[in-house]
């Protein structure tokens, strides 16, 4: 049996190479002295220095981070409520439509979401006088709408797998449903809330198309700046930015991995 596994394993290795070689090349060439991708002319960190002096890019990054944080927080609230509804409230009236509304944003092409949101904001501004212009708020609302669907998937899975006996015990001891939810359920699903938050944060930070539709003058997000400089051709500053993003993500994943491995064990030991 063991002999038969090597074709499969080589396919797996090929798949991982396909996924990682482009990223590794970006990282390597971010330290290249030359502006050209194909000519290696020596080690340099000058593109990082230029990146850190690129005022337009830094401002856009700060705006993107703030939008992503607001988006992630509100999407976790809405997504968790939606997951509660699906897991705890059984076959309520309109459940099919509810599930449809929660699944559609996952696969809906960005251009449709972006265009439809913009047309809504224009119609609302015309009819209600709000929102006054477009920018931070409109981008955040658009992002919350699709992020909620992703958070709901993550939280729903965790909620459905959760051991109900702790909640039942608390209820038998006379705790009110809200107390049970806040003191038992939420701490138990906290890892899912955290990964939902991080997922929503990343999705928002990554979005070019929807933000381009619903942003206004003066609210340029990071992907919009990256896009306009990428359209001009290969830019070593973008390589440097990519390297920083990969570094942050890898670090976050390692920290998450270490805490999830050692967290429960350490807690058990303390007890």
């Amino acid at each position: 049996m063991r002999r038969r596994r090597w074709p499969l394993l080589s396919l797996l290795a090929f798949g991982y190479a396909f996924l990682y070689v482009p990223i590794l090349l970006l990282i390597v060439y971010s330290f290249n002295e030359s502006r050209l991708v194909t000519v290696w002319s020596g080690f340099s960190i000058k593109w990082y220095r230029e990146l850190l002096h690129n005022q337009q890019l830094l401002e856009a990054a700060w705006l993107s981070v703030r939008i992503a944080a607001v988006n992630a927080t509100l999407a976790v609230v809405l997504g968790t409520l939606a997951a509660n509804a699906l897991v705890r409230h059984g076959r309520f009236r309109g459940r099919n439509a509810f599930e449809l509304l929660l699944t559609a944003p996952l696969v809906m092409p960005d251009v449709i979401i972006g265009l439809s949101m913009l047309l809504l904001f224009v119609a609302m501004q015309h009819g209600l006088g709000w929102p006054d212009g477009r920018g931070f708020t409109t981008i955040a609302i658009a992002h919350i709408t699709f992020s909620t669907a992703y958070v709901a998937v993550v939280v729903r899975t965790r909620l459905a797998q959760m051991d109900a006996s702790l909640e039942e015990a608390a209820m038998d001891l006379g705790a009110r449903p809200l107390t049970v939810y806040l003191r038992i359920t939420l701490p138990l699903i906290a890892p899912a809330l955290l990964s939902g938050w991080l997922l929503a944060f990343t999705l928002s930070l990554d979005d070019l198309v929807i933000a381009s539709f619903v942003s206004g003058p003066g609210s340029t997000t990071l992907p919009m700046v990256v896009y306009s400089s990428v359209r001009m051709g290969v830019s070593p500053q973008i390589n440097a930015l990519a390297t920083l993003i990969v570094a942050v993500v890898t670090l976050a994943v390692i920290i998450a991995g270490v805490t999830s491995l050692h967290g429960p064990r350490a807690a058990r030991r303390r007890r």
């Binding site: 499969l8 798949g15 991982y16 409520l81 509804a85 809906m108 092409p109 251009v111 919350i144 993500v249």
Partner: protein
């Protein structure tokens, strides 16, 4: 949770319903469903100069008469001008080819991960998800440096003596295939893994005991049982790729017509909002069929599990 029949808990239960079901419903209704209805409305408007740049659907005339204007010209244009028809067909074609390629690469990977020793599965799966957490835009951009005429791939192939003249890959449909498969591969692997890792290994053992060869057992047992994962992964790739904008824009060329890019150009370039809305409506109509298929499958899987 059985609801006791005395009053206060019932009221609390009702409040919990209102909050848990009502709030997300309201949000998605206002910010997801309503916008799609507005797109439908504006797709039958006429473009005009001014703010907003389209004619209203209804207007109260001074005589107190309600005037409703429905203009189907945008849809006629989409139907008659071959550029749109070609773009729609090509988008479907690109999505189909890429879905099959993702399946071809993703299925063996998901299978290898699902059959790996238990302690390796989560790290291997994390390695599939990790690129997804880095910027999508930057991952597409990475391929520009690899695929362009004086890029890394051509240098490598020239140095190895595989080719004599550099290949023109960037700004062709091939580059779009590469970019799409690269970006969407995790969406194929994850549902497939979820499905394959739940497969009961005793079924394969039973097949082997009855003298079935491994390949035949795979075709007769594993493949049919993983059909749900195949369909789910394929839909997660196919549906968004039909409307993809970034990849055809950065990696494709003038001949790679796709709806997402065309819609973007109509909106941002030509400022023709009603035509962009009409394109969105047609695109939505095309995607309803695979979407409903996916929904029904998910519900069936939920009921069986």
């Amino acid at each position: 949770m059985p609801a006791p029949q005395d009053n206060p808990p019932v009221r609390r239960q009702r409040l919990s319903r209102v909050v848990n079901i009502g709030l997300p419903y309201l949000w998605l209704g206002v910010f997801f469903l309503l916008p799609l209805l507005i797109v439908l409305q504006i797709s039958v408007a006429e473009p005009r100069l001014g703010q907003p740049p389209y004619t209203p659907l209804w207007e109260w005339l001074e005589s107190g008469v309600l005037q409703i204007q429905v203009n189907l010209q945008n849809f006629m244009l989409v139907w008659e001008d071959s550029i749109y028809l070609i773009a729609f067909l090509n988008s479907l074609w690109v999505a189909l080819v890429c879905t099959l390629l993702c399946l071809l690469i993703g299925y063996p990977m998901a299978y290898a991960i699902a059959t790996a020793p238990q302690r390796w599965r989560i790290p291997l799966l994390m390695l599939v998800i990790l690129p997804f957490w880095t910027s999508f835009l930057i991952r597409v951009y990475a391929w520009i440096g690899i695929l362009k005429t004086n890029g890394l791939l051509n240098h490598l192939l020239l140095a190895l003596g595989v080719i004599d003249t550099p290949l023109n890959i960037l700004h062709t449909q091939t580059a779009v295939y590469v970019g799409v498969v690269y970006s969407y591969l995790p969406f194929m692997i994850l549902p497939l893994y979820a499905n394959l890792s739940r497969l009961d290994p005793t079924l394969l053992e039973a097949a082997a005991d009855l003298g079935c060869r491994p390949l035949r057992a795979f075709v007769r047992v594993t493949l049919p049982l993983s059909l749900a994962g195949i369909v789910a992964g394929s839909m997660l790739v196919f549906i968004p790729v039909v409307g993809e904008f970034v990849i055809p824009d950065l990696l494709g060329g003038p001949e790679t017509l796709m709806v997402g890019k065309l819609l973007w150009t109509e909106f941002f370039g030509n400022k023709d909002w009603p035509l962009a809305a009409a394109l969105a409506i047609v695109l939505l109509g095309l995607l309803v069929v695979p979407f409903v298929l996916m929904q029904r499958l998910e519900r069936r899987m939920e009921e069986t599990s």
